[in-house]
């Protein structure tokens, strides 16, 4: 019984974290803050929810699998977001507030896209 209550609490907390993460991704002003919202609560939510399920699973193969999934998420999720952030930084996405370049960038891009475009098509035909 205590186990059920514990896992209920964990699952609900996890759900809450996941939800907050979702709201953060939607509401945060720029890409880097969104990454922050996503990855931070993402890992927290995952840990809580999977721990909650693990309590229900007891000592079984399922628990080991859950542990694997958790381990996996904890390794891959930050790696992916890290790679994503560095790719974005290299590509010149600026954090919001540092520079108004972002919107200007977009404008320029639209223009270049109109005539040369990322397709490099004009010269071929």
């Amino acid at each position: 019984m205590a186990l059920d209550i514990a896992s209920w609490v964990l699952l609900s907390m996890g759900g809450l974290f996941v939800f907050i993460g979702g709201v953060g991704v939607l509401r945060m002003p720029d890409f880097y803050t969104r990454i922050h919202a996503s990855s931070l609560t993402d890992t927290m939510g995952a840990i809580l929810i999977i721990l909650g399920i693990m309590l229900q699973a007891g000592a079984s193969l399922a628990a080991i699998k859950l542990a694997m999934i958790l381990l996996f998420l904890l390794i891959t999720s930050p790696t992916a977001t890290n790679a994503l952030a560095s790719a974005a930084l290299l590509a010149g996405v600026r954090p919001c507030g540092t520079d108004p370049v972002m919107s200007a960038d977009k404008g320029i891009d639209l223009d270049t896209n109109a005539d040369a475009g990322s397709l490099g098509e004009g010269k071929d035909t």
Partner: protein
């Protein structure tokens, strides 16, 4: 309650599909179709189709996204025209006619989940009973796939093989445009492309380390899915896709060229043909042993053991072919230079 989850997911799916069609940026469309596949997989899972969900997740969301991206690298990623209004009207007309047909058909359809329908009454119970008695593996889906309808699966392996052959055949042609002398600008673009070409994500340190760490585990997991297919969701197709995905990860991290050095194309071609041959060979051996084609029961003294042997071997054949084909296709796309 689960039906409401299903309805929710289905609605998300419709929204995603609309967005895919609406966006003019192909890259976005591909990312969204990854999400679409995932929603589809979740739906399949809710509808009790664990094996299908696994396949959709591995093939639909994983491999097909990779293939689409590979193609986009070569073709460019913006849609240039909106569809013209005439086109749109014609399309809407045809589509509306067909939709009306389909919706007309939904009346008279047995209610969702009704256990008294012909679908549930006629053939299905036989499969579940016979699997327990004659084949004796827990996963009925695998039993139907590999034994009762093994001939379909054989055909399916050959469909995959055909696709592999087709891609290799298409990409063995040198584009005629290449033979023309190039302008200076073009050759410059080409040379920069060449520097970038095939080096993968080698300069990203963290993905490097983590990826390398994970690849053996993914391979191991692939083998687990392959041989656990009799007992749980899984089997040759899913395993083939997962193993191929592991090697694709290696290629992404270390670069195309190195991945091809580890498993050269001739090995892949051998795998493509070998798996298919292995599968059909099982059938032919059954014939030799005085059974019908693919009648695994004759493979051992005890029919049930025979079925087990047959299913394991043909699933291995499926896995080998699928791995070989998916990797060949991936290499064909990734190794192709932009023209």
């Amino acid at each position: 309650m689960t039906i409401i989850f299903g309805v929710f997911l289905l609605t998300l799916m419709v929204i995603t599909a609309l967005a895919i069609v609406h966006t003019q940026h192909l890259f976005v469309a591909v990312i969204l179709s990854g999400i679409f596949s995932l929603l589809m997989a979740a739906n399949f899972f809710l509808l009790d189709a664990a094996d299908v969900a696994l396949t959709e997740a591995a093939i639909g969301a994983g491999i097909s996204t990779v293939l689409f991206l590979g193609a986009l690298t070569l073709t460019g990623e913006a849609e240039r025209y909106r569809s013209s209004s005439v086109n749109r009207v014609v399309a809407l007309g045809v589509v509306a006619a067909i939709t009306l047909m389909v919706i007309y058909a939904t009346f008279d359809k047995p209610a969702f989940g009704d256990p008294q329908t012909p679908v549930q009454q006629h053939v299905a119970p036989w499969y579940i009973d016979t699997t327990a008695n004659d084949i004796d593996i827990p996963n009925v889906v695998t039993a139907v796939l590999a034994s009762f309808r093994g001939y379909d699966t054989l055909g399916e392996v050959f469909v995959v093989l055909t696709a592999g052959i087709g891609i290799l055949f298409l990409f063995s042609a040198t584009p005629t445009r290449r033979k023309k002398p190039q302008t200076e600008q073009e050759s410059e673009v080409e040379s920069t492309a060449e520097i970038k070409f095939g080096e993968g994500l080698r300069h990203f340190l963290i993905p490097q380390v983590v990826g390398r760490l994970l690849i053996p585990f993914i391979l191991l997991f692939g083998l687990y899915v392959q041989f656990h297919g009799d007992y749980g969701p899984g089997g040759g197709f899913q395993a083939g896709a997962i193993i191929a995905a592991a090697i694709i990860l290696y290629a992404l991290l270390e670069g195309e060229a190195r991945a091809l050095r580890v498993i050269p194309q001739w090995v892949l071609t051998g795998m493509m043909a070998g798996g298919a041959i292995l599968y059909s060979a099982v059938g032919v051996v059954c014939m030799m042993l005085d059974g019908n084609f693919l009648e695994y029961s004759v493979l051992a003294a005890d029919p049930i053991t025979g079925q087990h042997i047959g299913i394991i071997v043909i699933e291995a054949g499926v896995g080998i072919t699928v791995t070989g084909v998916l990797l060949s296709i991936f290499h064909a796309f990734a190794g192709r230079r932009r023209f």
